[in-house]
């Protein structure tokens, strides 16, 4: 069929057939290659993690995708379409001024007001020197208790927002903590140190927009109460007695206390996993 | 950094994708498919120059002339010899695979005593001992050869006996021998000159006589003609191959040939269709009709058709006297187109199945069909080139195979004139095989050597100065310079054809032979001596349904 192959001769049917065939082959090859090329490009432009987060966000159940303003009770019913990144939310400013209907003090858990909270149960505390301290909030800490092992990122590594910042291992579950903010790792902590990461944010902290996407005040308590509610449902009524004290405060070491629960689901719901 | 499962996953995915764009898989594919085009375990023929040799097929007494294509010293193909006076280029199907017979898995290569293998030395010792102790019977399947002469002389010297397993054509001539005293081997059917042939179950188109002779004749004078010059009337129970092609097929009851012959004779004599004064068959026409299963009128018509265009000859497929008698009625004895005498120098043989005489040992030549088993409790020494399985032989002695031994080819059975040629051996025989003649000469060295006999025969032919030599072109023997030249030509495949001796003879038939239903079985490999068929015969018998595999022979 090809020039050089014995008995080759051009005929109309050859030309039609071959052109069609190669057109198809090229299209298929082209599709794959362009997909591969675009992938490479996304990584090059640091859009990969963003894409992953978007896809994960899309995978999340509706109930997990509530808008912070709904949590704070500023609006009745609103679901987030921005992957929890209020910095690009067009309507943020129109809801933010509204009065919150939820008490600002979190139920029985220590959620200091000096820090901001990410939906993945991490907190961010701006320091004077322009860095931020990042840690695990109390609910998460109580739930996990003492982790079996921890892998932290390298010093000076760049972290993207919502990218896995560090991992905790517990009872064979791997828990990925999402970075609440983008920046460079400048310090590594431990559980006992009370914080896990120190980061130099990529954006200027003085700009209010930089930390806008993080929860604060009434949003936190609204969000927490829903989280507790969910926990209660997922751990099941028979577990609620040992697991949660009155007022629904989880006792430390919840994972050890209730090993038979479907932790896989609980953890991925809690830490915005997939 | 440590390699995690994720890294492995990504890596393998990338590798798989990457490998496709390298030439590695494609080259591999190419090599593999090329390999599939010449698998090492598939034999390929050795290239080499092909030269054509002429010889004769000695696998049965018909001795057809064959053209053998030789490559690298081995026969790679067999074909007929167009200008062969008898076969005229035609051969039986088996001949075309015969060149592979020597490698047949059943080929005998060692001496066997009962089941266990033995040696020539022991065989010779045993045979010598037997000869010393008592008379020997030698059985030959292909009389008239130089080898036969050696065997016969040996038998006489040992005051033993020489018996012959006769081919069906010869057997069909035995009645005339009894009535005329002329040996059956001296007689023949002059079908060349016959106008009407009534075959009583003889497989004329299926290997009868010299296959080529009749096939060619029929093809020229009868095939596809509504009014053929040669009328072939086949009287047979089944629609045999010959019957399908015959001018007329007379379907009769199984084994009623004799009855019909009698019926025909009666009609011929009663209705004065023949001028002959002969005993009338005892059988009435009605009885004949009842026995043969066709109406009296049909018999009458048949009789008239037969005599309609003489000369006519009736041919039986066995020694059925009734059909011979019919020939006498038809006056086809000693007349052109009938039963003719072809030679004065011929002797009558003892048929082997009458081998009841007491013998210490029986020696069976390789030319004897494997089916034949002697009625004796003597020690049996059997020569064969192939092992046909169960046989009564105490000793199984490996004989030369196809084209492995020098042989001479006397007149084909029932052929109307004498012929003679030499089948020179084209293939070197394995050193462990010996012919029966060689074997007996180790016991009795006084016996003449094959070469010598053949030589004297050539001289004899030359001296008589009769007949013609059919080589590339024909030459009367009288024109040949010397007997040596004659022999040389014969060894190259030429055939000597004698003069037809035009002498009539009489058959004294006192009374009509008694009618007995004869169970005829005209097997197409009746006198094919080898117990095996060429492997390629499976095309006929197993890889197609063209033919029944002949009994006792593994195709």
């Amino acid at each position: 069929m090809f020039p050089g192959v014995d008995g080759f001769h051009w005929t109309v049917s050859h030309i039609l057939f071959l052109s069609l065939f190669f057109a198809v082959a090229m299209t298929i090859a082209g599709t794959v290659l362009s997909a591969a090329w675009r992938t490479a490009r996304d990584f090059h432009r640091h859009q990969a993690t963003q894409l992953c987060w978007e896809s994960d966000f899309a995978e999340m159940p509706e109930s997990e995708r509530r808008c912070r303003h709904e949590l704070a009770g500023r609006v009745g019913f609103r679901k987030c379409d921005n992957g929890f990144d209020c910095r690009h939310c067009s309507q943020y400013s129109q809801f933010a001024p509204l009065p919150a209907k939820v008490p600002a003090d979190p139920v029985g858990l220590k959620y200091p007001q000096d820090r901001l909270y990410h939906r993945g149960h991490t907190w961010v505390k701006p320091e004077e020197n322009g860095t931020v301290t990042i840690g695990l909030d109390e609910l998460a800490d109580h739930m996990i208790g003492e982790p079996d092992s921890i892998d932290m990122p390298e010093m000076c590594s760049e972290l993207e927002l919502n990218q896995t910042a560090w991992r905790l291992h517990k009872n064979g579950n791997e828990i990925s903590l999402r970075a609440p903010i983008e920046g460079t790792v400048v310090g590594i902590g431990t559980r006992n140190s009370g914080w896990y990461l120190k980061m130099r944010p990529r954006l200027d902290l003085r700009d209010p927009l930089t930390l806008r996407h993080l929860l604060r005040g009434p949003e936190v308590s609204g969000w927490l109460s829903r989280e507790l509610e969910r926990l209660q449902l997922q751990l099941g009524p028979q577990n609620t007695a040992p697991a949660l004290a009155d007022g629904g405060v989880p006792l430390p070491g919840l994972m050890d206390a209730v090993p038979e629960a479907d932790w896989d689901t609980v953890l991925s719901d809690t830490f915005l996993g997939i | 950094m440590k390699v995690t499962r994720r890294d492995l996953l990504v890596w393998s995915a990338g590798a798989a994708a990457g490998l496709v764009v390298t030439p590695v898989p494609w080259k591999l594919l190419d090599d593999v498919s090329i390999w599939s085009q010449n698998w090492p375990w598939i034999p390929q023929p050795a290239r080499g120059p092909v030269d054509v040799k002429q010889s004769a097929c000695a696998l049965c007494p018909r001795g057809c002339g064959i053209k053998v294509r030789m490559a690298g010293g081995w026969p790679v193909g067999v074909a007929g010899v167009i200008n062969h006076p008898v076969t005229r280029g035609a051969l039986c199907p088996l001949a075309f695979g015969a060149h592979q017979l020597n490698w047949h898995p059943k080929r005998l290569r060692t001496v066997h005593r009962q089941a266990s293998s033995s040696s020539w030395v022991e065989a010779q010792a045993a045979f010598a001992k037997a000869c010393a102790e008592g008379p020997v019977v030698v059985i030959d399947g292909y009389p008239g050869r130089a080898e036969s002469l050696v065997l016969e002389t040996f038998a006489q010297n040992r005051n033993g006996q020489y018996h012959v397993v006769l081919s069906p054509e010869i057997r069909s001539l035995i009645p005339y021998e009894t009535w005329s005293g002329i040996p059956a081997t001296a007689l023949g059917y002059d079908i060349e000159n016959a106008q009407t042939i009534v075959s009583f179950g003889a497989p004329l188109l299926d290997g009868w006589g010299s296959p080529g002779q009749f096939s060619r004749l029929w093809a020229e004078r009868a095939a596809g003609m509504t009014d053929p010059k040669l009328r072939l009337i086949q009287v047979e129970a089944e629609l045999s191959r010959t019957a399908t092609r015959a001018w007329r097929w007379v379907a009769i009851h199984q084994g009623a040939e004799a009855a019909l012959a009698a019926g025909l004779a009666r009609v011929l004599l009663e209705d004065r269709l023949v001028r002959a004064r002969l005993p009338m068959p005892a059988l009435t026409l009605t009885d004949a009709a009842v026995r043969s299963g066709i109406t009296p009128d049909a018999i009458r018509d048949l009789a008239r058709t037969i005599v309609a265009n003489p000369p006519v000859v009736a041919i039986a497929d066995d020694d059925n006297p009734a059909i011979a008698a019919l020939n006498i009625v038809l006056g086809s004895i000693g007349t052109p187109g009938g039963i003719v005498k072809k030679t004065k120098a011929a002797k009558s043989y003892l048929a082997a199945d009458s081998a009841s005489s007491p013998a210490r040992a029986v020696l069976i030549d390789a030319s004897v069909p494997w089916e034949f088993t002697p009625q004796t409790d003597a020690e049996v020494f059997r020569f064969a080139a192939w092992d046909g399985g169960s046989s009564k032989a105490d000793w199984l002695l490996p004989a030369p195979g196809f084209l492995e031994a020098l042989a001479d080819v006397p007149t084909a059975p029932a052929f109307p004139v004498e012929t003679y040629t030499i089948a020179s051996s084209l293939v070197k025989a394995p050193h462990e095989v010996h012919s029966a003649a060689q074997f007996v000469r180790t016991i009795d060295p006084s016996l003449p050597a094959m070469e010598k006999i053949i030589h004297t025969r050539c001289e004899d032919v030359f001296r008589r100065r009769l007949g013609t030599l059919h080589a590339q072109e024909q030459a009367p023997v009288a024109t040949l310079p010397s007997a040596l030249k004659l022999e040389e030509e014969l060894r190259k495949g030429a055939v000597w054809v004698g003069e037809p001796l035009r002498v009539g003879f009489r058959c004294e038939m006192k009374e009509w032979p008694t009618i007995s239903d004869s169970a005829t079985s005209a097997n197409w490999t009746e006198s094919w001596s080898a117990p095996v068929l060429p492997p390629l015969a499976s095309k006929l018998c197993r890889e197609s349904n063209l033919r029944e595999a002949p009994q006792g022979r593994n195709a």
Partner: protein, 253 residues
């Protein structure tokens, strides 16, 4: 000159001896497969039997040698072969099979109305030593490919070589005689150049007794049959369920 080799087979002459089948097999190095049956055997030349369907004395039978008909027009096998392993030789009209290119899909076998194509179901094998008796002119095939009659192309080739050596452009017809033609004891099978009107075979092909099997399918087979008997000529038309044929009578496998 552009030859069109074809055959005329006189069915009145065919005695069904089978010499052509053996000669063909020997010439083309077709193995005798021990396990093969009438359904799986290799018989590029196959003599089949047909009857007029009657019984007793009224029964008539005829033997029909079947080989590749070398169809001239819309050759079914050539059209279907996915990889050009079959082609019609423009110079000779012979339908050539190239076993070494065949992938054994057997599509051509389903396409052939004459069942004249055969598949190598087994590896070809010969008893020890018998490979010495193979015809040097023809290569053996391997398992898993289709083969068929190619009109003893090896013989045509040597005839051409001979002509070329003698400096002639045309081959001497006497040098090109396929094995089956050579073997037929009654001269029933004859080869000729149908493109040459003077060729006796061409003339016979146009005689009133001549016919071709399934001619109405329109593939212009170049193998002609001929018979004086009307019922035999009737076999050309396909009225199925007619004559019972022992040849394709096959056990239920």
């Amino acid at each position: 000159m552009r030859a069109r080799y074809g055959m005329v087979i006189d069915l009145d002459r065919c005695t069904g001896c089978g010499a052509c089948m053996l000669a063909c097999a020997a010439e083309n190095n077709v193995p005798a497969i021990p396990q093969a049956t009438a359904r799986t055997g290799l018989t590029p030349m196959l003599v089949r039997k047909a009857s007029n369907g009657m019984d007793g004395g009224a029964r008539r039978e005829v033997f029909i040698p079947i080989m590749c008909m070398h169809c001239e027009h819309e050759t079914p096998c050539v059209h279907v072969c996915p990889q050009q392993a079959v082609e019609v030789d423009k110079a000779t009209g012979i339908v050539m099979q190239m076993p070494q290119r065949c992938l054994g899909c057997r599509y051509c076998m389903t396409a052939c109305p004459y069942h004249a194509r055969y598949f190598n179901w087994w590896d070809p094998s010969w008893p020890a030593g018998m490979e010495k008796s193979l015809n040097p002119g023809v290569a053996t095939r391997m398992r898993g490919v289709v083969e068929k009659c190619n009109l003893c192309h090896a013989r045509l080739h040597s005839a051409k070589e001979k002509a070329a050596a003698a400096g002639k452009r045309e081959i001497d017809p006497a040098d090109y005689i396929p094995a089956c033609v050579e073997a037929c004891p009654t001269g029933a099978i004859r080869l000729g150049n149908l493109a040459d009107p003077a060729d006796p075979v061409t003339q016979e092909a146009h005689s009133p007794d001549a016919f071709r099997l399934l001619a109405r399918i329109g593939t212009e087979p170049k193998v002609y049959y001929k018979s004086k008997e009307a019922w035999v000529r009737g076999l050309a038309e396909s009225v199925s369920g007619r004559g019972a044929n022992n040849n394709s009578e096959v056990k239920h496998v």
